[in-house]
Symmetry: C2
Subunit: 171 residues, 2 copies
DNA sequence: TCATCAAATGTTATGATATAACGTTTTCAA
DNA sequence: TTGAAAACGTTATATCATAACATTTGATGA
């Protein structure tokens, strides 16, 4: 099969409401298949379906919303069903957990090494992931001033996305 | 009364296990009294006690741990008791909520405007708050590249503090 | 003083998120 | 084909947080 050239996979920019989200989903699923194949990890039907559900939009999705969606499809599902799938996806970098929201969002660039840096719009709920290596380095440098060795960093920024900022200046 | 010169109140640096933590507590309580007085907010006995309990160390404290502590003192207390006190302390900038830990920690510098920037040691649990204005500005600048207007930022960095890094290099 | 109102706190119940523990099915290779 | 590991099903429970309403407290003004 052709490598399905993911030339313009979701860039870390705010998507317009009218964008072709099917491409986001298909790109994420293809990237996940590929990544799991390379890592010898099993992207089972259930895990794949949960990933697809997480990608239902660019807003974070809660575990129990996923649970409801699975049940609506007629699957036998309980909290561990979805949490185990989420743990798998997290462990392979396919999704991220947004701590403030207690919810999950698909990672648009699982293969690029990156810190978690998220912009969350208070108005429309859209979340995008920045991948600003310089910013990650700045965080590590600040931490180093305190003699702190960084293992993981999580940045969650609340505010207004370009579309919503137009209407509500000053937030 | 003398202004009790808080000359060397908790700097944003890792405290040694042997530091005089009573000074951290007393300084935080005095700063809270002063801040509430200026703002016309009532730091009641309960709220003051909860703040003191949050300051029991430099580790984040969960709401139910506070609840247990209040009950151990013979107070009538239920979850709303402690959550309401925490909401008050949060709203006046006297404590911060650590999203990843679902727990709370005292703010060593409530009067300085600052973004939430926390270093959390995976080994000993100690958390310190950086107040790196340049880093906050760097975050805002990165967000601005995406047309995003920042309202609030929360940075939670996991790793190893100086004391613990010595033992577990590379951790 | 005492009526009155708002803020603070007490009390009960429930919602929302997450995991422990154990049994069954599937997978895969020896 | 059979044994072990992984994945999944199932039940129960732990953990974090808030809704709703009653009671107490403390300030204000008649
Ligand atoms: Zn999309
Ligand atoms: Zn990512
Ligand atoms: Zn201290
Ligand atoms: Zn602070």
């Amino acid at each position: 099969m052709p490598p399905s050239a993911p030339a313009s996979r979701s860039t870390a920019t705010f998507q317009r409401p009218g964008h072709d989200h099917r491409r986001c989903i298909d790109g994420a699923l293809a990237a996940a298949e590929e990544r799991c194949r390379r890592r010898g990890a099993k992207l089972t039907e259930l895990r794949r379906r949960v990933l697809e559900l997480v990608w239902q939009g660019h807003e974070p999705v809660g575990a129990y919303a996923l649970l409801d969606a699975l049940r609506a499809e007629g699957r036998a599902a309980a909290p561990p069903t979805v949490y185990r799938a989420l743990d798998f996806l997290l462990s392979h970098g396919l999704i991220h957990r947004l701590e403030k929201a207690n919810a999950f969002i698909g990672c648009p660039r699982p293969d690029d090494p990156h810190a978690g840096q998220f912009l969350m719009c208070l108005e429309c709920g859209t979340v995008i992931e920045m991948d600003d290596a310089a910013l990650g380095a700045a965080v590590a440098a600040s931490a180093a001033k305190h003699g702190f060795a960084v293992s993981r960093q999580m940045l969650e920024v609340e505010g207004h996305c370009p579309s919503c900022a137009r209407g509500a200046a000053g937030g």
